[in-house]
Amino acid sequence: MSDNKTETGHNKSPFHSDRANDWCAGCGDFGILHSLEKTLTTMERHPDQVAVFGGIGCSGKTPYYLASYGIHTLHGRVLPFATGAKLANPALTVIAVGGDGDGLSIGAGHLVNAGRRNVDLTYIIFDNGVYGLTKGQASPTLHHGEQTKAMTTPSMLEHINPQMLALAAGFTWIGRGYAYDVDQLCDLMEQAIRHPGSALLTVLQPCPTYNQLHDKDWYAGKDLDNSTGRLYSLQDEGYNPLVPADAGQALLDEKMLQCLGVAQQWNTRIPTGVFFQDLSKPHLLDPIAQCHPGYAIATPAQQPVCDEQGRPLACLDTHFEALSVRASNAKRWR
């Protein structure tokens, strides 16, 4: 039992990994990692049921620090890898993580198409406005005119709004958390994981090394007159993101417009919480199972391939029959 206890006597999470972590001290990634470990533990998932896929960058290393199936993939390609695994083995809880450059720049095409597919997986974007691991270049969520430490000029480009993009792409769960608000983040992670379609959770994550503009103090609103900080919870203010399963087009339109409205808030009041949740759309596994009844019985991961002697199990008689020509009994030549 002692193996499962920490020094302070708390139960160790089955998702806890003792691997040395090389993130910078004070990095927002720690809050996200901790929340993810805690959420999976609270949800009583088993490490053998959870696959965490990482992109490339500091955030992409997250899988190393969790005792689950951890797959460190390619820059921008985390969603295809995660989607392939989920479709082949739908029993897996699949979580993809990556930075805002990974998801919104080099991987933007996959983000859009993952939304459109509405496959049951959770995509967590660590949003810090910079490419940290390559020493602080501007990333797609950095706003026009902002200049972080490593930049020689202010950003000349407009930023990408991940919530608006996700809505347009078809993500059916869209939320935002803050790396240092672990309680809210755990709640959001659990909702995102439980949501039966594609979920995008953006986490505002200060990069203490390269992004001096959006640090803890900035999010805390220390530069502002009010003392409540920049961040507020949509749900605390009674915002209802839900499009129920039986909703009509009018309600869907209303909720999408509502989402677009809050998604544009920034600067002095930054919303967190659930922006949008749509239960009215089918997710890809439903039409797949409908078109291929066999899929529900044996998913690709379980598909029988050969018998114990290694002989193929597929029986292609009808397939060959369709391409076969039988010798004609008719008179062949005139």
Binding site: R19, P47, D48, Q49, A51, F53, I56, Y64, A67, Y69, G70, I71, H72, T73, L74, R77, P80, F81, T83, G84, A85, K86, L87, A88, N89, A91, L92, G109, H110, V112, I288, H292, P293, G294, I297, A298, T299, A301, Q303, P304, V305, C306, G310, R311, P312, L313, A314, C315, L316, T318, H319, F320, S324, V325, R326, A327, S328, R332, W333, R334
Partner: protein, 645 residues
């Protein structure tokens, strides 16, 4: 006296969208039902409607492995097809054409390539003929070609009236009318053709009625005006063949994958690869021998970056996974290919080569990606590259590709090309029932063991038992970064060396394990010094050429290289020790196999035969080239041309 081996070249041309492909399939099946062997080859433009396409059949008593440069029988119903192919009709050949096309001036044919048009006009002018189709026909008639004008418009008008259809609607049966007219001239029974029309158009009674109506009128017309004028008696003397496949390369690859138990395939639409994926989609579900069905998932995804990544993700769960693409798509897949090499993922990539570089010639063939497939991706990682030579190989190789991928835990690139994809031919039933399936070493979980599992445990063979995502008690990590045995990122210099050696050792292991038959195939006279080596779809032309050399009393040994990477250098060095002359035939500009041979065994071809016009080699052209080599007129590098293709 009856020859031992007889063959007949039939060609049909027409605008894309006019159903050339479909009717060629009907005709091929009808011939197959008579016990004839058919080798079909299709050429088409990257275009939806209107550009020229054509289909060649080599019809024979014994299997033929390539199409012919000439046509004994040309079937057309538009001026452009007639114009393009009339020069290729044999002197004693027949040509069917639309009566109305005769007066078309050549310079009104907008899609005729300028150099081709100018050459034709110059030839006609020299021989005193007008620069029209009529002039070309007259020229052809002079050299013995039998002209068979068909009044398509009149026949179709009568058909429209009879079927109470618009002329436009009835006009869609022009392909059937043309094919049926040629069948009638050959003396093929209309009943056989109608049986196959039913097979192909059976789902829609209106379309079937129109097409059988067109066939009947074609037979009536020919009976009245020509009789079975072009009939050849040997066609009539076929032995009984109970059942024959009429199958193309894409279908063969797809069925091989299903036999292998493939459970997951991704693709992004691209010519010429996507035909295979579309066919696979239509083949679901797959019955299983002991009951139940498998439901392989075939997914169209956003791009080839995703296609390769998703197939990797699925492979990690234990699903036999593949992706299918052509050159431009394969370029995008290279990053995931490296990831698969690094993470020892059994990923099968079916690579249908086409004319490159860049967009190149999407619907034409080339063997231009050999060096690319061998080297694709940055850094060094093991991969296995195998190349199919014909439609039969396509089936067995695609089945075997999964065994290699899982046994050696690496990406396998199965090289194909447009020529194979669009070859339709008769084949005996393919047998997969007793083929062995090798799933490689899969990690066996044990409840008491400690996790995580060392996914990349160092072993003597370099193969670590593979845990699967979702497998009980098998938690593990994977990483595209250099990693330790647990899949955790590591930049330790000693570990790096061990991991490189572990992965790269697989190449030697493959060479040690695979039989000679898996590496190459020898045909013709195995003891002859005169040796020709090839790879991929050029095999068929080489086989045909070598067969014809033997008929001339010249013994030639032909070698088809099947395993291209790891390169079987030692075996080839032994095999080629006394080869003289050494000839290499491949469809690319630089002689990529030749370069590999020079690099790995220090020997290169005495005569390099190349073709890079985007069309496959033929037995005819290779035979002529081998004859000139035999006669002492061989060149170090010779390019095979045919302006009429």
């Amino acid at each position: 006296m009856k020859q031992e081996y007889e063959e007949f070249a039939w060609r049909i041309g027409g605008p894309q969208g006019s159903g050339i492909d479909r009717l060629a399939n009907v005709f091929g099946r009808a011939l197959a039902s008579c016990g004839l062997k058919v080798f079909g080859h299709r050429e088409y433009h990257s275009n939806i409607l209107g550009r020229h396409s054509y289909f060649d059949f080599c019809i024979s008593t014994e299997p033929s492995y390539s199409h012919r440069e000439t046509a004994d029988f040309l079937v057309t119903f538009d001026a452009e097809s007639l114009c393009r192919h009339l020069p290729a009709v044999a002197d004693d050949g027949h040509v069917l054409f639309a009566t109305a096309d005769a007066d078309v001036p050549l310079d009104t044919l907008a899609f005729l390539d300028m150099h081709f048009k100018q050459d034709l006009i110059a030839t006609l002018t020299q021989s005193g003929q007008p620069p029209t189709i009529a002039g070309m026909l007259e020229q052809a008639r002079h050299r013995g070609v039998q002209l068979v004008p068909i009044p398509y418009a009149e026949i179709l008008a009568a058909l429209a009236h009879e079927c109470k259809l618009s002329r436009h609607h009835a006009g869609r049966a022009i392909n059937t009318l043309a094919v049926a007219a040629s069948s009638a001239l050959l003396g093929l029974s209309d009943e056989l053709l109608i049986t196959e029309l039913k097979n192909v158009f059976g789902n829609d009674p209106n379309i079937l009625d129109l097409n059988t109506g067109a066939a009947a009128r074609a037979y009536d017309f020919v009976a009245e005006h020509h009789g079975a004028a072009a009939s050849r008696t040997w066609l009539h003397e076929q032995r009984e063949v109970r059942e024959t496949l009429f199958i193309n390369g894409s279908q063969s690859v797809a069925l091989g994958k299903l036999a292998a138990g493939m459970a997951f395939q991704t693709y992004y639409p691209i010519s010429p690869a996507s035909d295979e994926s579309l066919f696979l989609e239509s083949q679901n579900p797959v019955p299983l021998r002991h009951g139940g069905h498998a439901a392989p998932l075939v997914l169209q995804v956003e791009d080839e970056l995703a296609a390769a990544g998703m197939a990797c993700g699925a492979a990690l769960t234990g699903a036999r996974s593949a992706t299918s693409t052509s050159g431009p798509g394969f370029c995008l897949m290279t990053e995931s290919l490296g990831w698969a090499g690094m993470n020892e993922v059994p990923l099968v990539v079916s690579l249908y080569q086409r004319g490159g570089p860049s967009t190149g010639m999407p619907t034409r063939t080339e063997q231009g990606d050999l060096q690319f497939a061998i080297h694709a991706g940055h850094g060094e990682f093991p991969r296995l590259v195998l190349a199919s030579g014909d439609v039969e190989d396509c089936f067995y190789d695609s089945m075997q590709a999964f065994n290699y991928a899982e046994r050696y835990q690496l990406p396998v690139i199965h090289m194909l090309d447009k020529a194979l994809a669009s070859t339709s031919q008769t084949l005996p039933r393919l047998h997969y029932e007793d083929k062995h399936i090798d799933r490689g070493e899969i990690f066996t979980s044990n409840d008491s063991q400690a996790t995580p599992v060392a996914r990349f445990a160092l072993t003597a063979s370099g193969i670590s038992p593979r845990p699967l995502l979702g497998q009980d008690n098998a938690q593990h990590w994977l990483s595209g970064a250099e990693h330790d045995t647990y899949g955790q990122v590591s930049e330790d210099p000693v570990l790096r060396e061990h991991m490189m050696e572990k992965r790269m050792h697989k190449l030697q292991q493959i060479l040690d394990d695979l039989s000679d038959e898996e590496k190459f195939c020898v045909y013709g006279n195995k003891t002859a010094q005169f040796t020709i080596i090839t790879w991929g779809s050029t095999k068929g032309a080489v086989w045909d050429a070598v067969k014809r050399m033997a008929q001339q009393g010249i013994e030639v040994r032909a070698i088809q290289l099947r395993l291209l990477w790891p390169f079987p250098a030692a075996e080839l060095a032994t095999l080629l020790a006394d080869a003289a002359p050494l000839v290499i035939a491949e469809c690319n500009y630089s002689g990529q196999l030749n370069a590999l041979l020079r690099e790995h065994i220090g020997r290169s071809a005495d005569h390099l035969l190349l073709k890079y016009s985007g069309r496959p080699m033929t037995g005819d052209a290779l035979f002529a080239a081998l004859q000139s080599i035999q006669a002492g007129n061989g060149l170090p590098r010779r390019v095979l041309h045919n302006p009429n293709e």
